[in-house]
Every structure is written in structure tokens, then in C-alpha cells.
Symmetry: C2
Subunit: 357 residues, 2 copies
Amino acid sequence: MNKGAAGTRASPTRATPRTLGFVILTLFMLSCAASQTLAVAEQHVTDESARWADPLPSWNNTAAKARIINFVEAVTDPENPGYFAPEERIATFDNDGTLWVEQPLYAELAFAIYRIEILARAHPEWKSVDLLRALLTSDMQSMLALGNRVPIEVIVASHTGMSTTMFDTIVREWMHNARHPRFERPYTELTYQPQLELLAFLRVNGFKTYIVCSGTVEFMRPWAGEAYGIRPDQVIGTSVDTVYEVQGGKASLLRLPEIYLVGDASGKPVGIQKHIGQRPILAFGNSDGDFEMLQWTTQGSGGERLGLVLHHDDAKREYAYDRESNVGRLDKALDAADESGWVVVSMKNDWNSVFAD
Amino acid sequence: MNKGAAGTRASPTRATPRTLGFVILTLFMLSCAASQTLAVAEQHVTDESARWADPLPSWNNTAAKARIINFVEAVTDPENPGYFAPEERIATFDNDGTLWVEQPLYAELAFAIYRIEILARAHPEWKSVDLLRALLTSDMQSMLALGNRVPIEVIVASHTGMSTTMFDTIVREWMHNARHPRFERPYTELTYQPQLELLAFLRVNGFKTYIVCSGTVEFMRPWAGEAYGIRPDQVIGTSVDTVYEVQGGKASLLRLPEIYLVGDASGKPVGIQKHIGQRPILAFGNSDGDFEMLQWTTQGSGGERLGLVLHHDDAKREYAYDRESNVGRLDKALDAADESGWVVVSMKNDWNSVFAD
């Protein structure tokens, strides 16, 4: 656009000394980069395991991994008919059950229960709402019956009525303190290592990576950067509305008890279009809530597209569930995978590790 | 996240030759980069105008330009108390009247009139809607009275009822064929050259640049990349809702006659939070519709923040208007600029060119 501006921050009146400084700095950086490249190269050559050269070390060398690598090679190779320019390389990932553990209860639902327990004293009327009463009495059966999504009543009760800044702090605190009931680790340590490698591999290859979740974006944004390397504006999902307020000269955004988008099922393509404005060329999900996102992605015209479905079949290292599960049910999407050409990734067979150590 | 994956697309079994190729390619690229840097440096030193060193050549050397350059130097200098990490460098720009011409009529309103004229034959009932009748009879006074925004009725009539793909094509075609009534050039040639330089300067300095417009995102996305270097997902504004449909095995998103966000006034901070999830550190507007965005940006805590207001005071090269104008009225924001520390940019005095040649 304005190539003259590239690399300079100098004011025009002080151009020459700055320019020389810039040249010296650049040469210094280039020489550093060169020696670093050589050091890395040496490591490549001498490391017998050749682990550095494998972009997906936690993936076993199975058909699923080959499909992913072949796809990325095809779309990044200008000579290949499946080539996509970098700005077209959009990859969308579901979160719960695709990037981190969703059993036995969504992290966001655990968070909502924590919040509702704190707030319940000030809200005696909640006892007359079936869902909230179930949460407050720890009626696990009712909670599990909630199915694929944290219900709107629960989001409204637990996620609204405060400023956006305050909610961000509440989420960060909870995420720091909460522990998963089985693994007894913070939820952010229960992200899947193979998926972190895949996200990094895609980004290195020019992809822009997005989360498209059925949970709320405001619950994910405070930690998605650190956990996944995904910026707040690349998280798409359910969200609560806000209103702009100025009180005592101080501006804030108040979170209202109104849901403005539900990021599940057919809401996923809608959210993708609203937010990204481009059709993905890769989508990764794990449940029927991802069916439409996978369909929308892989039916796009032009070039190759890749749909991936994570199958939780590993009770030992994580959980085994599919067609009968209330949380993360995988039924319709499993049936459709074959004829749609989607890759079903077996946690048990395709991943050699599940969590980072 | 997974540093081992960086820079490699090789399959594990073919690591060594690929790695050597990578090293050779990198060294070649480094040597090219080094000689190019030297060539550019030479140009810097020998070019008496030192134009290459000026990141904002279409800006005169006035206080406004100095404020911008000082701000960018401060936020990018880790030694400076006003430093912001790259991921915090969010800049938001209004579009109409800030990045391109908005007089005598918003481009999107001209587009809507064109659409409504085509569609009117099939919609005799539109004659009973005051606004639509005014458009169809070219009643300029009524059109100008529409004020700061294309009315919702007009957007519904002209922008909905087709698939997202079809709408994209309609916008591209119109943009290719339409001409501005005074300048007789395509609207996309009536973007402001000084602003293109500013956008590039910010991006070179690690900023992520967004458009936050009162127009619809779907009208802007098809051409914002080429015109401004801004990707579709970095355009925020008014939008129409869509529904996901599969007919005859083919998926599409149908644009519904429902508006889901109005990106003006207090809708701007709301849209920024929804979409970006971070508070900007720089905002640039030109009308009262940008007041809240400027306020939200510059009231943020931590470090320096920059609010900028473009004042259209150049009837010769463009237009002169402010407090009395129906299109892009600048009144409240002009009054607030002084006490808020916002920089009022005079088109006449601060810019040495307005449009690219």
C-alpha cells in the first residue's frame, strides 16, 4: 500500500542518522538470524530422532496425520491445483471436546455453578427455576441432562450484570483456582497437546486459526491467548449483549441479560460468516454441534478442503463416548463422516499423547 | 506453543534433505534481504528529499503528524512508560468521511438507491414507504435528511433476500461500475492517501487495524482488502442476520431482513468489545457518530492513547462541513476534542494530498 513506510518509524527531519541505525540494526539482526538458523540446522542434522522436523510429534504416523500433512502441503504449494493464497487459509476449531476436555461437565458449566452458588443468596427467586435449583442442589443427573450446551438461563444468571472488565477478572480468577474433578489439574492444562501442535503447524503455514465454540466468547477470551495462541478477536461463539455507559466520567460496558448469538449447530456457519466473512478451508469438531460447520467448510468451492472429527475412544487416557452421550454427542456427524470425506481422528490410535506433561 | 514445528512442513521420514533445503533457502533469502537493505539504505542517503524515510509523506510536517509519530514511537519502545506489547496495539478507524469520501451521499446509500430502483418493479408496496418513495423519486432533500446513517428500512429493502455469495457479487459489480457524482471516479479511488499511509505505518509498527463503520460490514468486506489492506474479519459495523440453509445438498447462508447490530455512536464501543474483545489504543473518526469510540479508546487505563478527528475543511480538494451537515455531522466531538486531548486533523492544513493520483 505504501511501501515507502516499511520498516521506518523515523521522523522525516532526522532521516539520515536513523536510517543508518536501522541499517546497522538490520544487519545485526540478519547475522543473528543466520547463526541461529545454522544452529537449528545443526540440531536437525545431528538429532537422530529427527523430532524437530516432525510438525506433529504427538500424532502417530497414521492415515489421519498423513491426510493433514498432505492437505497443508497441497494448499500451500502454488504449483498444486489445491493451492489457496495465505489470506484464504482459514481454519476453525470447536473448543469443548476438540481442543480440551469436556467431560464429565463443560468447564463453563462448572464455572456457572460456582458463580450461581456465590450469587444465590441474593437471588432467592432462583429456587423456583428448575435448572438453577438443579445446579444449586448438585443434582448431577439434571445437570448431565443439560446436553450439548450451557442453557441460556444459566448463562444469564451467572455471566451478566457486571462490567466486561469485571467479568474478565472473574473468569481469570476461577480459571486459576478451579481443578478438573478427575485429573485434578487446572482446565487450561487439559488442552490436547496434539491439537496445540496442529494449531501451530497451521499458523506456521499461513493459516489464521479461529475457535468457533458453543460456549461464550467472553469465558474463553481471557485465557485463549495463553492456552492456544488465539487472540480474543479470533474467538467466535455465544455472547451476551452489552450497553455502553458513562458514569462519573468513567466509561464502561455493562453485560446485559441478553444472548445475542448461539454458537452451536447451524449457528456456527452463521457466526463464521458474521465474524470472519470467509468460508474456512479446514474445520475440526467432535460432536453433532459441529456438523453444520464441517458441512459448510467442506462444501466450499475451489480447491481441497479438510473436515476433521475427533472421536473420543480413549477411556484410559481421557474418556470414551459418542452416540449416547449427553455431553458432546457424536452421532449424525459420525455417520456423515464417511460420505463427506471427513477424517475421523481416533484419540486412542492417532494420538501418542493427549495432554502436555 | 510448539517451537519444534516452526518453519517445517516436512513429513518426518524425509527430514534431512528438506532441512538442508530449508537452510539453503533461508541463507539465500537472508543474503537477498541484506543486499536489498543496503540498496534501500543507499537510496535513503542519496535521495535528497529523504522521502523514503518519511512514513507519512502525504501529511504535512505539522503538530498532528508529530503527535502521531510520537505516539507510535512511544507505544513501540519497550523503554518508554507508554509501551504496549504488539498484541495490545489495536487501532480502529471509522470509514465514511474518515477513510474515504462521504459527501454528498454515502456510497452505501448510492448503492442502496441503485438496488431499490432495480427491485422496485417487483415491490409496488414500497411506494407507500416514505423513505423508499423519496429514494425512488430522487428527492434529494429527503435523502440528505436521512442524516448519519443509511436507514434500516433501506438496508432491508436493498441488502437482504439473497445468499451471502450473491450479495458479495452484487457489491463487487456495483463498486466496479459506480462513479462518484463530483469526482467521476470509482469510490474505491476516493480513499484518502494520507490515511492509507497511516494504516500502513501502524501495521508496520505491529498494530492490528480495524474498520468500525456505521455502514454494513457486508458492503465493505468485498473491497476493504484491496482498498485498505484490511481483511474481512477486521471490518466491524452494522450487519444483517443470516440463516443456514441446505437445499438440494447445497449449503448457503440466506440474508434475512433483520439487522443485528448498528455500528454507530454507542454501538461502536459495543461492537468493538463484541468483535475485538480488546480496547483500542488509537481511534480515528470524523463525526459525532465516532464520539463514543474516541471516548472509549482514550479513557482506557495504562499507557498513552490517541484519539484523532478528521475535520473536513477543504472545499477545494474535497468538502467543507461540520456542525450543520446532515452527512457526517461533527459538533459534539469537535467540542470535546480539546478537553479530551484528541487531535483535530485539518484536511486543508495537515494533508498535502487527499486522494492517490
